[in-house]
Amino acid sequence: MMNNILNFLEKLGASFRGTLFGLGSGARLFFLTIIYSSDSFKRFNLTIKEIYFTGVLSLVIIVVSAFFVGMVLGLQGYYTLEKYGSSEAIGVLVALALVRELGPVVTALLFAGRAGTAITAEIGLMKTTEQLSAMEMMAVSPIARIVAPRFWAGMISMPILATVFSMVGILGGYFIAVLVIGVDDGAFWSQMQANVDFHNDIVDGAIKSVVFGFTCTLIALYQGLVAPPTAEGVSRATTKTVVISSLSVLGLDFVLTSFMFV
């Protein structure tokens, strides 16, 4: 019995140490990426190519998800508000829920799943087939050439995707609430405009998406770089990317929300 408890505590301590180590290595990767970032801007083509792969190719999943999320918000929100006779506030509900929370958070989760795993798998595979080593031996820094452009691409893509998500989600909510259920068109928009503040709600949501973009991209890059150079190692690394990104996003969301909206 004692043994089991001791084992458990040991594992807990080890995983805590592991988390700290991960944070430290991640921070070091971040600083290295910044130092080696000049190429990402001088040869902007590298970054543009990565923006295409992380951002443009994520548009489909983001837009479709946003539309459905918006519709669900409209549906659920309407039936709840109707009980209190406030069904005209459906616009406010949909807009605030999306702009403040769902836009940044759901986009980050989808981004981690789609673009994050792609980045981790790609870099992990390059490590396994010694492409990173080959680049190093050719006196080209893999951080400058491979890591940094993907980092900046993620930082640029995420806020754009989150904003698009919010917009499409609101349109989805509009579609359900006004066009299908029959809430008043004017009330939908006017209540929304009266209660959604640009500085407090929209800008804060944008700040969240920047923070999430930074987090998800860095985690994806880090996991790819430290993946063991085997097929199993790479596949485990992509799983870790999704899990760690998702937990970090949700945790950071709580922290940021308590700063911004309280």
Partner: protein
């Protein structure tokens, strides 16, 4: 992937982001022309500002004409000093009333300006003399109780 095609797609992507931001700012939020216009600042003193916050709306006849700037406590005169930014396009007479009202039953509090009849208008840095504090629920209840107690006494 050809470079030209790549650039076009990324350009569309970034443009989409900007459009979405614009859309949110104007159609969804309340970034109206008010926020980008020039404003002038006046002051008002209140005994109790209730739930009034900086950036709350300043309305006249229900139309937003400005925003609350800053709210501070004057520890020598023991009242609240509220700085108000009024849009340059609107002028108010010197004897304007500044009242704190609530939007809706449980809504946010805002400042309502009711114009007086003075010939001279407010300039930047002026003080609004006539103010009405926010309604505080506890005071209202205690007033009600006091009144009804008084009624009872009167009946005896």
């Amino acid at each position: 992937m050809e470079r030209v095609k790549l650039d076009i797609w990324v350009g569309i992507f970034v443009a989409l982001g900007i459009i979405a931001m614009f859309y949110l700012a104007t159609r969804v939020g309340n970034l109206t022309s008010n926020d980008v216009n020039e404003t002038y600042e006046v002051k008002a003193y209140f005994e109790n500002i209730g739930g009034l916050k900086p950036r709350a709306a300043v309305k006249a006849s229900g139309v937003v004409v400005g925003r609350i700037g800053s709210i501070k406590f004057d520890s020598e005169a023991f009242h609240a000093v509220v700085k108000i930014n009024i849009d340059d396009r609107y002028s108010f007479p010197k004897d304007t009333f500044a009242n704190i009202y609530t939007a809706g039953l449980l809504g946010e509090q805002y400042l309502a300006l009711e114009a007086g009849g003075d010939d001279v208008n407010l300039k930047a840095g002026d003080l609004i003399q006539h103010t009405q504090d926010a309604v505080v629920l506890e005071k209202l209840i205690s007033q009600f109780l006091y009144n009804s107690a008084g009624d009872d006494k009167g009946k005896d």
